[in-house]
């Protein structure tokens, strides 16, 4: 259980960013509170290996995002301090940056879109993204390649995929 604190300290920032990109800056503190609560509750399952622990926590965050999409993440008092720091910390003008590309990603099949987000927004390798999505690495590669082809078409660009670079 004592390993939870260093594991959270090492990953909380990345988890918050991950959540902010999926549920928004305003709701992310509540989602992170839920993630942290679950991590503590399941402390006995926390992998000892730092990389595995990180993936395990992102797996929990993925579930919380799914709950958030169903309106299941509620305002948490635990998140108040963080909310006070992050609220309104993002300039409104920055919200439009990349909007057209995000819209194109959003129009992809959800499984394809998430591969793009995990790789390009969150910095996961394709192998890590595959693990997080619970799919074989080969499936992740094919989804990623297909996603980029479709995005290149949608955005009027040449894909120029170098999928192998991301495995």
């Amino acid at each position: 259980m004592s390993d939870v604190v260093p594991a959270l300290d090492a990953n909380a920032g990345a988890l918050l960013t991950y959540l902010e990109r999926r549920v928004g800056v305003d709701d992310a503190p509540d989602a992170l509170a839920e993630v942290m609560t679950v991590v503590w509750r399941r402390a006995a399952d926390l992998p000892a290996d730092a990389t595995e622990a990180r993936m395990w926590m992102f797996g929990i965050a993925k579930g919380v995002v799914a709950n958030a999409a169903r309106g299941k993440v509620r305002r948490a008092k635990l998140a108040d301090r963080l909310r006070a720091v992050t609220a309104s910390s993002v300039p409104a003008s920055s919200a439009d940056r990349g909007l057209e590309v995000r819209d194109a990603i959003e129009r992809l099949d959800p499984g394809l879109a998430e591969m793009v987000r995990l790789v390009h927004w969150d910095g996961f390798s394709l192998a890590e993204a595959a693990a997080l999505e619970g799919i074989p690495a080969s499936t992740a590669r094919s989804r990623y390649a297909r996603a980029k082809r479709e995005l290149a078409t949608a955005l009027g660009l040449q894909a120029g995929d170098r999928v192998a670079d991301r495995t």
């Binding site: 300290d9 920032g13 800056v25 609560t37 720091v85 992050t86 590309v101 995000r102 390009h120 660009l157």
Partner: protein, 209 residues
């Protein structure tokens, strides 16, 4: 799509992430505090069922506090049941996350899911036990005063009823496990209580009553 710079797809994708809160000392400090504050207190903790002390580790919350504390319905619930407080407010309890030897857990689940659960618990005995105390209230200056029935610090009928329900279910479950030949102290569980129409004080987050 004519005005993107750069026009490399990889770069476009990588720079398309929605804006996030900027990193900084305050954000880091808030995250560190949150990681520690999220540690299970008795509000959330899964703890052994202390039959000897007459305790079912229920997490209690009411009104807005309930909404903030956990999702409802509770995804891990083995069973849920509802009851009405003396004031007429209704509460719903979810129990689950059982831990322990598989056969003892199975027996506990069997007991908790029986349809007549609320008929086999001894609520009156538990309520009498709650009222018998001792009940102590600590004043701001640290002085301990009697908080039993009839004093100005008495919790009131609704809250006593809530605690009695938790105790009665815990006692009945413990009795059942012992009768089945199991070590009741080896089975842990988690419970939450949702009383949307009844605000509950913070001290009721403490289970073990």
């Amino acid at each position: 799509m004519t005005d993107h710079e750069p026009r490399d797809l990889d770069a476009l994708l990588s720079t398309s992430a929605p804006p996030t809160s900027p990193d900084g000392p305050e954000r880091v400090a808030a995250l560190e505090a949150m990681a520690r504050d999220a540690r299970p207190t008795r509000r959330r903790v899964r703890r052994p069922l202390a039959i000897g002390a007459g305790a079912l580790a229920l997490v209690l919350a009411g009104g807005a506090a309930a909404a903030a504390a956990f999702d409802w319905p509770v995804p891990w619930a083995v069973t849920t049941y509802s009851f009405t407080l003396p004031s007429g407010a209704t509460c719903e309890t979810a129990v689950g996350n059982l831990q322990g030897p598989p056969d003892a857990v199975a027996a506990a689940e069997e007991f908790l899911t029986r349809e007549d659960l609320l008929d086999v618990i001894d609520l009156d005995a538990a309520l009498a036990d709650i009222e018998a105390g001792p009940r102590i209230h600590v004043l701001a200056d640290g002085t301990e005063v009697d908080a039993g029935p009839g004093t100005e610090y008495w919790m009131g009928a609704d809250l006593a009823y809530l605690l009695a329900y938790a105790r009665a279910v815990g006692d009945a479950l413990g009795d059942y496990l012992v009768a089945q030949g199991y070590d009741d102290s080896g089975v842990g569980l988690e419970g939450v209580l949702n009383c949307p129409d009844r605000e509950l004080p913070d001290w009721m987050d403490l289970p073990g009553e």
